[in-house]
């Protein structure tokens, strides 16, 4: 997989402990592509190279996050800074962030609070990010992330201008220590019976439940050794068995919307 842990930054558990309860209590925004409790809040925004901290009372409650950002990273290259919270099965549908050959941004994830059921995926790999680890995510590959635990997973997410080499995103090389061995999740292969059960959903699929069906299929890869993009192919197979031709068309639209036209 292209996602990789670039190293670990030093985080103060005492200072984080002051701000995390505030993050958990915030009324955050939901995302159109998210399922369940998957919410976010912008802390920095603006047009590059003028992105700057948002001057509002919410961001001002997070002086330590500001410090983590400015102490470790080249803030002049930042496009946005956000916190993403997920819990209780909240996740984002498998997607690609851009479809062309040119990167739209360079995204780093830094978990501030996590648990063993906070998982991310790229293609057919599933992995876990530890607190303080700085992860580069390749938005050109199908990827997905979620938290299947009651306790919220909170990530600080920084988007940088796309043309800056990864090593130059840090204020200096002393900011980051060596990357640990990544925690990948081994899963059993998908069996023929399981595939049959998935395709069998044609017996109940309708226009009304096509979207909830995709929401279910999008999670199968966290338990079985398949790529997250399979969800869309399964949905197309299922919809193709429906007497309603609009369903197949909608399933194809969903695949194109999330993975880009022509993705196979």
């Amino acid at each position: 997989m292209n996602a990789r842990c670039m190293g670990v930054i030093s985080l103060s558990s005492d200072l984080l402990a002051r701000e995390i309860p505030i993050m958990e209590s915030l009324r955050l925004s939901s995302c159109d592509d998210a399922v369940g409790p998957w919410i976010h809040r912008s802390l920095w925004a603006g047009d590059h190279p003028k992105a700057e901290p948002i001057k509002d009372e919410v961001r001002e409650q997070f002086p330590y996050l500001d410090q983590v950002t400015s102490d470790n990273f080249r803030t002049e290259q930042i496009l946005s800074v956000r916190i993403f919270c997920a819990s209780r099965g909240g996740y984002i549908r498998p997607h690609r962030d851009w479809t062309g050959s040119e990167r739209a941004f360079t995204r780093l994830h830094i978990p501030l609070q996590t648990n063993g059921e906070a998982l991310n995926s790229e293609d057919d790999s599933v992995y876990h990010m530890g607190v303080g680890e700085v992860w580069y995510l390749d938005g050109s590959r199908p990827h997905c992330g979620g938290c299947f635990h009651e306790s919220p997973r909170i990530h600080l997410i920084l988007d940088f201008a796309p043309d800056i080499p990864l090593t130059e995103l840090f204020r200096d090389s002393a900011c980051i220590s060596a990357a640990p061995q990544p925690t990948t999740v081994n899963r059993d292969p998908l069996t023929s019976r399981q595939l049959e059960a998935i395709h069998g959903l044609a017996g109940i699929v309708t226009e009304k439940n096509l979207s909830p069906t995709l929401n279910l299929l999008s999670l199968v890869h966290f338990d079985r050794q398949v790529t997250s993009a399979s969800a869309y192919d399964w949905l197309i197979t299922i919809a193709g068995q429906s007497p309603d031709p609009a369903l197949l068309s909608r399933a194809k639209q969903l695949k194109s919307a999330y993975l880009g036209p022509g993705w196979s």
């Binding site: 009324r27 939901s30 399922v35 369940g36 409790p37 209780r88 099965g89 909240g90 059921e117 299947f148 069996t191 019976r193 399981q194 049959e196 059960a197 998935i198 069998g200 959903l201 044609a202 017996g203 109940i204 309708t206 226009e207 009304k208 439940n209 979207s211 909830p212 069906t213 929401n215 279910l216 999670l219 199968v220 966290f222 338990d223 079985r224």
Partner: protein, 273 residues
């Protein structure tokens, strides 16, 4: 409630109409978009959310003075004209901004009703449906429906357009016709459930086949998907909890059996209140 395609004469009923001009109400419907909505995560799927506009503890329901109610002057005036506002406990906005639904649930048990609940659609369309036990029906704009929330019920918006209801909770001790300022305006009317085909053996095979892929990570999403089946098939909306239990047992995962029981208890009771 009876089977689909027949007249339903108990539980939820259409009891009257609110005199509101949808066009003149448009600015107030727009105003609700900026209300601080509670997504009620865990119960709703998609954009289902709600907002408390007024509660009796806030003082008299005065449209002009304060709070969110002040931004709904025409609606408040229509409610004042139609109902005995002194019997109102709460007034909420329930919104589904585009596609979304709420899982089949009960809000209280028959022996201890918390409110008499009226739904009045302000903005809706034919793809916005309600279910109560085995019945599925549509509430039109301006209609006032008593919803028996002690029965298992659910609601959905299967369109891209917004669905907005004002939900008025009254003192449950007051008879329904006495909720109206003019009791004669209460027109208790039965309604016809939308007819749907019965589930086939293929559909049940598809549902129980989910035991093959069920896990703790996707069990809630299985519940979400099953929560839509009754809108297409002639089954009680509560059947999804039996299906979940069967799926869990067939999966041989004790954790899923527990999860199925937890979900059923959370949505159908018994409740602690």
């Amino acid at each position: 409630m009876n089977d689909g395609g027949v007249i339903c004469t108990s539980g939820t009923q259409l009891v009257g109409r609110l005199s509101i001009d949808p066009q003149r109400l448009a600015p107030e419907i727009k105003a609700t978009e900026s209300f601080p909505m509670d997504p009620s995560v865990g119960y709703g799927v998609g954009s289902w959310c709600k907002c408390l506009v007024w509660a009796s503890k806030m003082g008299p329901l005065d449209t002009a003075k304060s709070g969110l109610a002040a931004s709904l002057p025409m609606l408040m005036a229509a409610i004042h004209e139609t109902f005995r506002v002194e019997a109102i406990n709460h007034l909420q906005i329930f919104s589904i901004k585009g596609r979304g639904f709420i899982l089949p649930h009960r809000d209280w048990v028959p022996a201890r009703p918390l409110h008499t609940r009226l739904h009045i659609p302000l903005q809706t369309n034919e793809q916005c449906l309600h279910a109560e036990e085995a019945s599925v029906f549509h509430m039109s704009e301006g209609e006032a429906w008593v919803v028996d929330a002690s029965l298992t019920h659910s609601a959905a918006n299967f369109s891209e357009a917004n669905r907005i209801h004002v939900v008025v909770d009254f003192d449950p001790e007051v008879p329904v016709h006495e909720l109206f300022r003019v009791p004669g305006n209460c027109e208790s009317a039965p309604f016809e459930s939308i007819d749907r085909p019965k589930p086939t053996s293929d559909s049940l095979d598809a549902i129980y086949g989910l035991a093959e892929i069920a896990s703790a990570r996707n069990f809630q999403r299985i519940a979400d998907m099953l929560a839509t089946v009754h809108y297409d098939r002639q089954v009680n909306c509560a059947a999804m909890y039996d299906w979940l239990s069967e799926i869990a047992h067939r999966s041989d995962e004790a954790k899923l059996v527990d999860l199925a029981a937890v979900l059923q208890r959370r949505y159908l009771g018994p409740f602690d209140f």
